[in-house]
């Protein structure tokens, strides 16, 4: 089921969705499953904020911005999205890879 949904979506070399506008909550569930992240309400709070921020700014939010603008702390971000919270949150939210670092 998961794989079926993912097969219909275009991803870039690093696994980020090419077109953020075709994202749906089902796709988020499927990407989450593929990354072994089970989405809770707290995950959704971050994902929805990331979507909203991307629509306003054209860029996925940085980790620091997420923790400033939502109720989710830095520590919790690492528990919710282990490995690379801003990157994984953007990935599940169907956004491009954050360009935080130059």
């Amino acid at each position: 089921m998961t794989q079926d949904i993912l097969d219909t979506i275009a991803f870039d070399d690093e696994g980020f969705m090419v077109d953020a506008s075709v994202w749906t909550e089902e796709i988020a569930q499927a990407i989450g499953e593929a990354l072994e992240v089970k989405l809770s309400d707290r995950h959704w709070e971050v994902i929805k904020y990331a979507r909203q921020e991307f629509e306003a700014q054209g860029e996925p939010p940085t980790l620091r911005r997420i923790t400033q603008q939502t109720e989710v702390s830095m520590k919790e971000m690492y528990q919710l999205f282990p490995g690379g919270p801003a990157k994984i949150a953007a990935n599940i939210a169907g956004l491009k890879k954050p360009t935080g670092c130059i």
Binding site: R64, R65, Q68, M74, K75, Y78, C101, I102
Partner: protein, 411 residues
């Protein structure tokens, strides 16, 4: 009279003052530049202080020496920027300056207080140091001179940082320095970085990562520091990894000036949102941003401020004439990376092109090797201090083009 107000007399602000004084008619315009500090630091030189290659006096000169006489230099803190009223409040004498055009050049600064236990855990300036501030670099020099060895951890708290290659240069020079002192075998060197490799861009990251390995420097990638535990002498990441240290050299979180945040002009790190091609503020059309005060997704480095200069000046003058702005800044950055043992590497890149190997053509001086160690890159770096004080700050002609060129680069 109209007023051009420049906030910050560092690399960017000083260059803008020197250029604009020739562009604007002094019967119509007053140029004012404000800075809190009377000393100009040659910041690329701070890197050399911990190893005794430079001493603090080698990187300091009075700011006044670089500001044209007919520009009004005011030494003061800035209380508040009020863009809706086109005015700035200073701390000194509670002075208020009304402006027609404003250039923000307030830079970026380390904020060790952003990391728990870094500044307030007891080890700061005892066995925890930074080298991004003049006094931090000088204190570290005193420490290193007599250090017997142990485990030195170099840690970047959070990106972006000013001069993103500086931590690597610090590591390369430390390797050389401990060799020279005859204690390299007594020192374990660890580099803990939030990046997934040695550098931000793939080809350079691979080559620089290989150099770390060759020099026996251990890389700990994707390490996002949550706290410094001064008692146990470990740094701990948000995902609970621990790295122990005897000496911690920290590159703390870099942020824009506090007045930017206070005035509601900044993003979450107090960097001013700016159009990355025109250098005009995203929010206010008579505000312009140069160098690392802004959020343009390029390196926070003096070379970048220099490459921004011509585009920024042109666009400000065009705006004054009611002409369309030119979207000409391409994110161009170039840096000499000091790699120890009198060798250096040169990288040259922009928003779209990552650092590539090849040759960098430079009439009269070059070519310099790109992404490859060479003695001439080292001498290029050492010579640069003279060029900085004598040509660059004064807005003179440098032998580099603002826009990056592909000439000499191998794809």
């Amino acid at each position: 009279m109209k007023t051009l107000l420049i906030l910050g007399a560092g690399t960017g602000g000083t260059m803008v003052a020197n250029k604009m004084v020739h562009e604007l008619d002094s019967r119509e315009w007053e140029i004012i530049i404000v800075d809190r500090d009377e000393t100009h630091y040659y910041q690329p030189g701070l890197l050399f202080i911990p190893f005794g290659i430079y001493n603090p006096r080698d990187v300091e000169k009075p700011k006044r020496d670089f500001i044209p006489l007919n520009v009004n230099l005011i030494l003061s803190d800035i209380e508040l920027i009020e863009p809706e009223k086109n005015r700035v409040q200073l701390s000194k004498d509670k002075q208020i300056i009304n402006y027609d055009y404003l250039v923000i050049a307030t830079g970026s600064h380390i904020q060790p207080k952003e990391t728990e236990g870094l500044l307030d855990g007891g080890g700061w300036r005892k066995n925890i140091f930074d080298f991004y501030s003049p006094d931090g670099a000088a204190d570290l020099a005193r420490f290193l001179k007599f250090w017997k060895g142990g485990r030195m951890v170099v840690n970047v708290s959070e990106m972006p940082i000013k001069c993103p290659v500086a931590p690597l240069e610090f590591l390369f020079l430390a390797d050389w320095f401990f060799h020279e002192r005859g204690i390299r075998d007594q020192v374990e060197i660890v580099y803990a970085t939030p990046l997934d490799g040695a550098f931000t861009k793939p080809r350079a990251s691979e080559i620089l990562g290989g150099m770390l390995e060759k020099k026996n420097i251990n890389l700990e990638p994707e390490f996002n520091i949550g706290e410094v535990d001064n008692k146990k002498q470990v740094i701990r990441s948000w995902d609970e990894r621990e790295i122990s240290y005897d000496l911690l050299v920290s590159i703390p979180t870099n942020m824009g000036a506090e007045v930017i945040g206070r005035s509601g002009l900044g993003d979450e790190l107090n960097f001013v949102p700016v159009d990355k091609h025109t250098l005009q503020s995203s929010a206010w059309e008579n505000i312009w941003v140069i160098g690392d005060a802004g959020n343009a997704p390029t390196s926070k480095a003096g070379s970048v401020a220099h490459f921004m200069l011509d585009v920024l000046i042109d666009n400000m003058l065009r705006h004054m004439e009611g002409l369309e702005l030119l979207a000409e800044f391409d994110g161009h950055a170039n840096c000499f990376i000091e790699s120890g043992f009198e060798q250096g590497i040169l990288i040259d890149f922009n928003y779209d092109v990552e650092p590539l190997p090849g040759k960098y053509p430079l009439p009269g001086l070059g070519p310099f090797s790109l992404l490859k160690e060479s003695p001439s890159n080292h001498w290029g770096k050492m010579m640069f201090r003279w060029m900085y004080w004598n040509i660059l700050l004064k807005g003179g002609e440098m032998p580099f083009e603002s826009q990056m060129t592909m000439a000499g680069k191998w794809q």
